[in-house]
Amino acid sequence: DTIKMAFIDPLSGAMASSGEPALQSFMLAAEHINANGGVNGDDIEIVPYDNKVSPKESLVQLQKAIDSGARYILQGNGSSVASAIIEAVSKHNARNPGEEVLFFNYAAVTPAFTNEACSFWHFRFDAHTDMKMNAITDWVAKRDDIKKVYIIGQDYVHGEAVAAAAVAQLKEKRPDIEIVGNELHPLAKVKDFTPYVQKIISSGADAVITGNWGQDMTLLVKAAADAGQKIPYLTFYGGSNGAVAALGEGAIDTLYQVSEGVTNLDASPEQYAMIEEYKQRFPQYDYYYDRAFTTLEMFDAAAEKAGSVEPIAVAKAMEGLEVQAAYGPATMRAEDHQLQQNLFVTTVAKDQKYGVDNTDLGWRLVDGGAISAEAASTPTTCKMERPE
């Protein structure tokens, strides 16, 4: 028997560069698990569905996936899609008892999914915005030389949430830090960020926090590098594909990111072997989605614990489960289905073990950049309805 897991994410068009490497990571992870005897003896099969990052199209693909027998959904690109899938999965499970489906979210980071909008059917394997912000502010708090912080983001829920979290957490951890700017700009519409950088320079900021992704992130940091600005731009998505290639050396000491791990961290030989294997199999992309491996490992462990691959049983078994991930222990918190894991603040530097984007630049852990899972953790307001 095989366990079908539907991977629903963009696999064509401009956003395919986020979907593809994730799919490859899941495939590789599944191969490894299958090679080690599978899940309770069954093999995992990852079936890709292209959703073109459209919430509505995702629903079509979701229906297709469910009809083809997939009981587990993997998705991560775009909170709008994730939100649509959470809703749709809940409705489906309510309307089709006995045919439940679980949703493993590996990258959509809106905090609400594991707070007020939490669902028993949803598990998140990435740290959400507030947790990542916790890591960033933790690190900022340790840096006494940072006195002024500028916040800039995209004008929509995500950008607003990032800004709100940054303000609140900085106030708590370092009340002396002055927020010298809190700016929102429309999503994916700005071509030239020079005026924004100019504003940042004028404000005398020592660090910039941004939740920007895609072009908005790259262009912002590029404009900063062009203006000769050498202050940390703390990002969530600096590690996404092609960003470092686009920035070149301008990224050094400017571009910072927070993530659950980078290839240049100390790790076990198995992890290095895995990275090598990935690089060899998929030369177009860098090893980035370590979460994919954690996700499937946790699934494997939960199924084993439950002695079943039935979604409800697996879900219950997964609650509170702990596995050993590549860069530290990872625990699935039972109250809200949010994975608790270590986070790392890294920056771009030369002469690293692994380069990114086929350049000679790589990610390096910054001083005090390792943030423990406890420190990154945030409380949840989740009140989940559980099935009998």
Binding site: P186, P195, Q198, K222, G228, A245, A246, D357
Partner: protein, 310 residues
Amino acid sequence: METVVFALLNGVIYGLLLFMLSSGLTLIFSMMGVLNFAHASFYMLGAYFAYTLMEGSNFWIALFIAPVLVGLAGMVVERYGLRKVHARGHVAELLFTFGLAYLIDEVVKIFWGRTAVNYKVPELLDFPLFTLYGAQYPAYRIFILLVAILMLVALWYLLRRTRAGLIIQAALTHPHMVGHLGHNVPMIFMMVFGAGCALAGLAGVIGGNYFITDPAMAVQMGPIVFVVVVVGGLGSLEGAFIAAMLIGLLQTSAVSINASLADIFGFLGLAGTSEVGGITIASMAPMLPFLLLVLVLMVRPTGLMGDREV
């Protein structure tokens, strides 16, 4: 003071950049009446060609060869594609280029992958020219400025001073008649389209490393280029130039205004805490060109400087 200087300087440079991007489109639009939706795709091709050429040679060679290659590609497109649909009117042409943009985007992804390539500014120009109020000004920006002005002059000459301009404008309404007068209309159309695409390619060579060279760059730039050309007015190079500058200045100065709508319209009872009131001018800056587009067309369908309805 500081704000004003910055806004002016950045506005002018951004405006020139926009002009550079849209000049080829203006050429094609004003001479052939074709609103080339794929224009930004040719811009992208220019960047990618230059990137590839740079691997085997250097920037300066790429600067000359890449636009020529893009121009040739444009001529092929005109000869074997656009010419076929030309007889069926502007909507068909527009849709053809609309589809072409799709195709070019996909082909670029096949050849160069889906993520950004490391297309670098040439070493020779990769230094800060001067520093103003703490911000460095890369020499490359000034280089862009010079090229943009050069393009303006060359185009102005082509449009105003050559008979080819007249012939093509005549061929817009009566292609057969122009043929009966002994002018090789298809040939001229092909050349013009090629030239327009080459200009887009040149903008790509220069803009690709200033911004980012990735498969999304065409989609990113597409709409704004249209706004410039349409706001400027059909058949008007000056219009395109003025529109580009206007948009450049408008947008950069709006970024530096932190006032919110509540601050401005507070006297009408708009509260800063309300959703509308909380919007700042700065956050609306990138939408201003589209607002301008709608307003200008409503008041003047010919665009700012155009002499014909777009």
